[in-house]
Symmetry: C2
Subunit: 364 residues, 2 copies
């Protein structure tokens, strides 16, 4: 029975840490959860679309967690220009740009129309030239009335896949991530796009998988707002496809927790519950649980360290710490709340459940 | 533009009124919502399985709402015997028996295994002889692990349909209702079973449709616990099929609101939200809204009065009141809460929305 695994420089390529008190609470938890490198989402209010703000935000985070490496991003909107992209790349201020279709999730009101990305093609061209990553929230907004082919939370991701293929066709060298995949059809599309890829360095379209979507299906969020997130967890066949992809050892599937903290109050409402699952505090232990259940611990390091760092081309020289994450076997119970002892409380994923693993840090 | 419709003796053939303070609050609302005859669900805690309790419960309700006609039911469980069924029928204490698969909804813990009804066949035979109705909550419990054909909240009703067909095959004269249909496949099954039926009196398998399932799809309860109910509202094509069935004028589809009140507190939780939508206070106006939108007001009386009363064979002599429900056009806003002014509050369906109709009563 494996007791310990050296996971090296772990990375979580999809992290929400918000601002203010919530940011102060959850940012240090990135390391507690076993993650060294975190790719930070820009959906603040207002969204991050300027150099000044992204630099300022990174400074704030670095102060809260000096040993965590923060990779920053812009929020795709009409405020971005090719010039700004080039300047941000030159200053190494961002690693990518996140695209939110308008209205599909938390703070996505400033998002774009996924039916027509053409207005952003000059920005994508600049990104392609600068080797920046396009992070896609891959959902079409729900459409119902009078529409034969209705779009709803269950098929919204599948409906987005043609747009992903078109972007890849139009920008074959642009690195694209379909974030937080939730469906069997998305997994198949990513595999199909990568069918001829021989080397990890040649991957242009990858997918992140969260921890919670490796556990949840629709029954888990029906009646349990704490498990409600966007994209919603789907059907059992979808979960099976996600788990299979995660443990596969295929380098175009890697970890992005999409840990999205909301206060208890915002999860405890009879209307308008905020979408998002908070998983940062135990990010790597959750994933280890799934890999062990699948007898695939040998592929865990690829999923939580190697593949993400390779896709983003992370160099040792840019790391805030060279400490290695050591996964070790120990029982722990997920607490009912993660709190700052004042007014900010967040319910962790799988609160009250037993986990079999924890992470400590060892200097290189 | 139609301004008024005489709906006659309206009936809601699926009503939850609970006990205690909630019962006192919602029982008088049956008439406020435009309903004359109410078929009352037996899923109290503990469930109603004895003559004494059902008689007592009816007395309580009649006191709270003297002009409402209450049709009572037993909860199918191992406590029921053919002898009890015959005795209850003789005393006219019940009109039917409600079958809950164990664990699928509020207070269904004492329910049965829908994979094998054979233990209840003597009870069903007694019911068939007494012309009592079998009310089915038509869902299979969710099954996931290790099962190729997983059952989840979205296909649970469809998975139940073979059990419905088998019951009808085995008891061709037993009156059966598939309660609160939510799926296109259920509608098709009911239509198929009735394909050769020429007279309403020959219908043996019918379906009730709620008000809320004529409005809601999955997107409406994702993140909105107030709209979470069992069976869950499904996809746009399902809703279309339900609306089409409701307005069709086919006598085997009739109204059963499944109005299921829960306190605001029980709807405002981050885990374990109670399943159920409260629609009693505006039951008929909600339905009228849908029928008018579908240009089918001429079929409304069939759906909310004639077909249900015919299936249950309701006689004037057993009515608590002969008052006719008059639907009339008037704008009203659904209030944010329905309250007893003390501690019991329930959120009505479509709180804050405008309705175009109301109901008043006229003596015959």
């Amino acid at each position: 029975m494996v007791q310990e695994i050296d996971l090296g420089i772990t990375c979580d390529m999809h992290v929400h840490v918000r601002e203010g008190a919530m940011c102060e609470l959850v940012t240090p938890k990135i390391r507690d959860g076993g993650v060294s490198v975190a790719y930070i989402m820009p959906n603040l209010q207002p969204p991050i679309t300027t150099l000044d703000r992204v630099i300022e935000y990174k400074k704030t985070l670095q102060k809260l967690a000096p040993k965590t490496t923060f990779l920053m991003s812009f929020y795709l909107s009409k405020h971005l220009t090719p010039l700004l992209i080039h300047e941000a790349a030159k200053q190494k201020a961002i690693r990518g740009v996140k695209c939110y279709p308008a209205g599909v999730t938390t703070n996505s009101d400033a998002g774009v129309d996924p039916n027509d990305f053409s207005a952003f093609y000059p920005v994508f061209k600049a990104m392609e030239e600068e080797n920046l990553v396009l992070n896609l929230h891959g959902e079409k907004p729900s459409v119902y009335e009078g529409d034969e082919e209705a779009i709803h939370v269950l098929n919204a991701e599948e409906a987005f896949l043609p747009a992903l293929r078109k972007l890849h066709d139009d920008f074959p060298n642009l690195k694209i991530i379909l974030e937080h995949c939730t469906s069997e059809s998305a997994i198949k599309t990513i595999e199909d796009i990568n069918r001829d890829v021989k080397n990890a360095a040649d991957i242009r379209v990858a997918a992140t998988l969260t921890a919670h979507h490796l556990f949840l299906t629709i029954d888990d969020w029906a009646g349990n707002p704490v498990n409600f997130c966007k994209p919603v967890a789907k059907l059992p066949n979808d979960k099976k496809a996600l788990v299979k992809a995660a443990v596969s050892g295929k380098p175009y599937f890697f970890f992005g927790s999409d840990s999205a903290p909301h206060t208890v109050q915002n999860k405890t409402k009879y209307m308008g519950v905020c979408a998002g699952v908070y998983s940062q505090s135990f990010a790597i232990p959750y994933v280890a649980q799934v890999f062990e259940e699948q007898n695939a611990l040998q592929n865990l390091k690829g999923f939580v360290s190697d593949f993400g760092n390779s896709f983003y081309d992370i160099k040792d020289s840019e790391l805030a710490s060279l400490d290695r994450a050591i996964l070790y076997r120990t029982e722990q119970i997920v607490p009912q709340t993660i709190s700052d002892g004042k007014e900010t409380n967040v319910i962790p994923f799988k609160a009250g459940d037993k986990l079999d693993w924890s992470v400590r840090w060892e200097s290189r």
